[in-house]
Symmetry: D2
Subunit: 486 residues, 4 copies
């Protein structure tokens, strides 16, 4: 692609040459015995790790270009299959074997060996993360296609190696190693942990923090799942963690037993626990993207919880709705543009009854209420005004239901969190007004959260329906909101 873009994609000639030279030495030398291939792998790993980001990209490009499959061999083997067909099944099967082998990229053979050395699996996870990070910056179609083959090759290996039997479920508590607890803290992205007291509570009583670890990446929590044990399915994150909230939130509607600061010394009262609320799940390794892990962790956690608490019969997430506000602003802009062209949008963004209520909170009576809404949402002041909150609850909940239930991408739910839980067989169960009044929550989702509920007896069926038929299972309540015309 050098001719196409003279810009940053172009590796310095020198880099490319030295890389080519290095790779030639790697792939030409016979890789026969256990010992020699191990030494070679270590050399490869060290070489790559010593490169700077730019050099790494060059390296990956050269690697993906030069050491994929031998195109000629593939074509030859493909023809072999066609011809073998007439020589009977045994011959055909043999020729297919040959074709299969010809399709294994040469770098995959190397990666497989790298996976055997200490730290090798982690190296490949990181290398794949590099590819995934760099890919969006590449404009040359060929290069992109090659890098896709490269990262798919790694993904395939990782899928084998991160097979669920090799993952170890661990509960993290205050008794766990500081190192692990600190990592759990560092990786928490959904509801950031503020200090060690906060952290201590998240691994303390009425909480279950589960992680998967993998033999090849010791001391690394690969996926993290935070669970709260409550009486009822929580409506608000503030009843679970002490996220600072803006505004007049009437907190703790369903405040769990452990809301207070002495939680750490409390013993759990099993009789008060009948729900498990998954309030945060994080995959920590970009390089393991699209390797199934989170769903298995939820599954294992459910099993673990059922064993520990036979009384738990309600399982649900309490999830953020990233992207809702962005989507809403886009819809508002569309609506405004349509209005300016005197066109109408179907369904309308706001219904008459909503518009009338909105009028109560603004002065200029004849203003366009969609414009007003946009203005209101521009900053956070509305959350401190109880009256405004009251007026907005209806339309925003309705629009959120529409966003989650109706908006699709390739037939699946547009919202990625929804897509994750629905794939697992959860039900789109309840939208919670003022569920997350943190700055973050207000920015992302106008302070709303959603429960994806897991009814264990129908999880399998729901999952099948969603994945096969693109059909979302939702509660009556949510469906009502989604269909609502006022």
């Amino acid at each position: 692609c050098r001719t196409m873009n003279g810009g940053s994609d172009l590796p310095s000639v020198q880099d490319a040459e030295s890389t080519a030279h290095f790779l030639e030495s790697v792939f030409s030398s016979p890789e026969i015995s256990v010992l020699s291939s191990e030494a070679k792998c270590q050399r490869f790993v060290k070489h790559y790790n010593d490169l700077n980001p730019e050099e790494k990209l060059t390296f990956l490009k050269v690697l993906s270009k030069q050491y994929g499959v031998h195109q000629d061999s593939v074509v030859l083997a493909a023809q072999g299959v066609t011809m073998a067909k007439e020589r009977g099944e045994a011959a055909l099967l043999k020729s297919e074997e040959r074709l299969r082998n010809s399709l294994v990229p040469r770098f995959q053979q190397l990666f497989q060996k790298i996976g055997r050395i200490e730290g090798g699996v982690k190296f490949l996870v990181n290398m794949r993360a590099d590819i995934l990070t760099k890919a969006p910056t590449i404009h040359c179609e060929k290069e992109l296609a090659r890098l896709r083959v490269l990262q798919n090759s790694i993904r395939e290996l990782l899928t084998f190696w991160f097979s669920v039997g090799f993952l170890k479920l661990q509960r993290i508590t205050w008794e766990s190693s500081c190192d692990m607890v600190q990592k759990v803290s560092d990786y928490e992205a959904v509801h950031p942990i503020r200090n060690w007291a906060d952290l201590k509570r998240r691994v303390g009583t009425y909480r279950r923090c589960f992680v998967f670890t993998h033999k090849s990446m010791p001391k690394e929590p690969v996926v993290v799942l935070h669970t709260a044990l409550t009486q009822d399915i929580s409506k608000s994150i503030h009843s679970i963690i002490s996220t600072p909230s803006l505004g007049q939130v009437k907190q703790a509607v369903d405040s769990p037993p452990a809301a207070d600061t002495e939680a750490e010394t409390l013993t759990e009262d099993q009789s008060k626990i009948s729900a498990a609320v998954f309030y945060s799940i994080t995959s920590t390794q970009k390089g393991l993207q699209s390797v199934d892990l989170g769903n298995y962790l939820i599954k294992k956690a459910v099993e673990e919880l059922q064993t520990e608490f036979p009384g738990i019969h309600k399982f649900s997430s309490l999830s953020p709705i990233p992207g809702f506000k962005d989507w809403l602003i886009t819809e508002i802009n569309k609506s405004l543009k349509a209005a300016s062209l005197s066109e109408s949008v179907e369904p309308p963004l706001l219904y008459q009854s909503e518009i009338q209520k909105l009028r109560e909170i603004v002065e200029p009576e004849n203003a366009n209420m969609v414009t007003v809404l946009k203005g209101v949402l521009q900053n956070h002041t509305w959350v401190s005004n109880e009256h405004v909150c009251q007026v907005l609850q209806g339309p925003l909940t309705r629009l959120c239901a529409r966003y989650l239930y109706t908006e699709k991408r390739r037939g699946y739910a547009l919202n990625p969190v929804a897509n994750f839980h629905l794939s697992n067989g959860a039900v789109l169960w309840r939208i919670n007004w003022l569920g997350d009044m943190s700055m973050r929550g207000i920015n992302q989702s106008c302070g709303m959260m959603v429960n994806y509920r897991y009814f264990l007896e129908s999880t399998e069926e729901n999952s099948r329906k969603y994945l096969e038929l693109r059909e979302i299972t939702a509660s009556e309540e949510v469906k009502e909101w989604a269909k609502l015309t006022l």
Copy 2:
């Protein structure tokens, strides 16, 4: 293959039908969510395990016939590749991806999922063992070809899952669990363990018993390596273990410090340890055949020993020579047949100087000495006769050297133990006369054993030479014997 042989290969129509029916239910149902595929896998495992051996074979035949690759899709995808070539590299890579996918047998997708459930990996190991065991009884070429695809498919998965990073090196001692120690005992095939006192010594002082275990097959030693720590490289198994020996063996030439029964209470004297002798290595799982494990275990053991005993600088096996006597008898018969036809065999089995010495021990002076030799080897009495032993030492050592160094199969050493150690980079170092005077040792190898020595600095080079160039590295002594013309 029903038309070809009406015999035992033919599964009862009923069996085949019910199997076909079951498999249809497995492969037709959509396998979408985590939960549903897990349930299905468990059903599959249970179904197979409940079958009797004959039914299992039927099952495997149907499975391998019906649920391999879609031949049509393969051909189509193969053609796609040819056509894509003209549409540029990006298109080509995409079409190759499609071809690659089309070549994955449907059963492999299922096996991959089975590997994720508890006990699933062990199930596949066992299923592959079944195939390997049954294969030699099958005469239909098609069926054989299909079963080969089936077991290759499992082998490929197992190769991923038994990647060396997932194996755990453990030293077995008398402190290990009874369960594990008993298994180590049960699996010992090279020098059978006679009682618990014997066993206690093999895991005691001046011994290192290493095993690999795997997370998916807990409590199962996958490979077992027995090592003796000695001053010099042992010449005889009797100096290591108390195998009952026949005849007048002058034992304990290099008797290690721990030969006596109080071994268990001895502490090891590090200053007396300068050699590590691998005297038995056993792969316990037929289903893991041709998945590299033994070589890795030796490698890890060497590392472990070097850490524990920086003073050890001699590493060697003390190995049996299975097949030597059988080969020798065959050669004798060939020689006799040639003689009866008045032909000559080159090189001759016995040289003149050897024949003269042999004459000393037999009465009929004009007998054919090859016939005499054959007669002598027929039973064990020769080992009790010191004079006979003395006379036989020369010619048998020489013939053994020829067997190990010169006899080949596809260019590699004919003897499988030799092939294993030479592949790992060991040197064919020393042939030990009267090294194993047990009944077994006399039957297999006329009482001889061999040391394959590991010179760590040249292991890699030796391995390369052997695997690439078919060149055996041997000591001068062995080469002398092999070339000897008296």
Copy 3:
């Protein structure tokens, strides 16, 4: 005591002198810092361990004679107390403190320090075992008294150190270390273990083998308790272990689920488990004699079993009756002697109805049936004769009940096993005819066994009654037997 007995008690002058010399060096040197006292203790331990048994005895005698309390200091301090009484309580308390200190033997201070070094506790356990073993051979009263002070001093320390919180309860299974399992086997004295298959069953399904271990004696099971999990309280040891039995035993009346040889692979059916039968308890260390351990182990085992099996509601021992036959023969001889003197023994050994039945099995009608009984019990043949067994069942059971319930030593049960369980609060519950038909069982107790049953709710009360009031709690059945007059 040299003047009293010139015999074997007399240590050679040389021994005594060298010992005195050594001990002087130990006790004279100031024992101040951590480091110096540790070195001294190690010297002491080594010195003693290097002695032969006779020298050890000399050593113990000198030690106990020379390094007890300073008699003069004691007398002085004792007078101090008397005098202090008048100077008020504070002075009195201070003088008592001084007296208390003066009464600590000098060797006890050393022992306390020895307890701190590695292996020191075990050393003292062994040294006390030496004293207990040798004591019966000593005839000099003074020496005996001194040695008693010596071993009491150690016992007191061991009582502190083997406080129950420092003991670790462990369940031994086939997964435990070979070393530990072998020790459990070696120590089993009640029902000797015959081979590893036997042993494997005793730590397998439907069995719980518990031990106490102590930090200071690692890898040493200090007490061992074997438990069988059954449906009903076992009547016979043969239903639990495969002790070879003599005669026509109708085995397995209450054969537990795991009686057969495939026990090892069985999984336990919890629904079939409602009783826990303690069938063997062994203290392994003579040096810990009269340090309470066994009762605590039973207590802990009960707690453990209740946690694991909430369904278990019957706890009982199945105990041997060592000494019964010896006692019976003594009683028979007394009775015969009385008869020869034409005296009568009250209660009579055999009642008329019993005598009549006994007549059925012997020919000489007018023989003395007590003599007949004595003759019958002389060897084992009676157990093979069903008729004889039937006739003997009544009188032997009755006499056994009398032995266990009525015969006393210092007010407590004469039989030591009975005394142990009754002290713990168990009930003398059932005498089992033909409960142990092994050679050992027939020799010790005419084949009978007894259940001491633990009713948890009344254990405390029973124990109090027995220890305080010397009152044995027995079942109605046993009491009936004991009082029976036919």
Copy 4:
């Protein structure tokens, strides 16, 4: 003592009565079986724990008064000894046994049983802490004497139970449990830990943090020892931890490799480690006061470090000098008072040469320099004035040497830290000017610190000299300072 002081010591009559009542129930009931005594102990523990501090004191008073020894029995037994003397040694020894038993307070028997229940040992540690805390507030001599017997009784038991073999040495690292690490942080009193980053460094590379834990107080570090691994023996705490320092300290004279914040990721360079500096040792349990633990921890740590780093040959503390400034101010006041009375103090506080130098830093030439010194030390400003520091270094170092080397209490070093290390056999090695420039360090010791160095080969001898002969081993340098007359 009610008549003596009508004040706060007087328990309410009600309290005393209910306590008396409760204790009667405890001590009257027969305490026979394992089960009953356990129940009773638990009742006792619960009862005490539920009391408020004042009630606890009442409780302890009643307990110590009513349930000590029976005075009459003691007197009787004491007389028995006197009389037994004439009846020979055996009788004497027996009577002594009786006397010994009569001297065991009744509460001690109970405490011994309490030590056996879960949490019992910790309970006694806490109860003793209560007594030690309350004792100084009690003015009645009798009560004090009784409480002393009570706490001595507990101390004796604790000395048995905390025998060094029962303590477990653990290294605390960032891999240790959060719970343990947090406790180590909370207990650190010498150089308080400021935040988790600070803490992470203290358990990180070039640091060894050792603790003793005890089976009976799980998760509780009983003693904590912080060690820094350095090239040379550190002169300043700031080179080890990031204590904020006042003034112009030229830090890091002997800055160890790990001073910077990236320490956590560094691997240790063994070649740079030749000294181990114990910079903080803390006993965490007041109730274990005067039970030897710290010295054993240092001993074990030295062993551990020697095993890990054969290259370490310098062992030393870097210790604070609590009390130096207080002592100095007292001396100054004495000196001033003497001056005001025109008396002379010998040795004088300041020498002429020092006075002359001091004059340089103050204006009023004719001021009394001792007054000047007092004024200078009143606040911290002097540390920021390099010139003043320079002038003060001489006299303050000299006075500190005098304080540490010459000042005694009952013949032992007045300074408690000095007394601890000297008892252990360390050498008073070096006084470090500006070693601790934290607020705390300046307040306590005018910013000085001291190294007590452990020369392993002479530790034993030093300890003996100090403890036996009250002789302090000091370096020439320190002795020079101490004797200095300028």
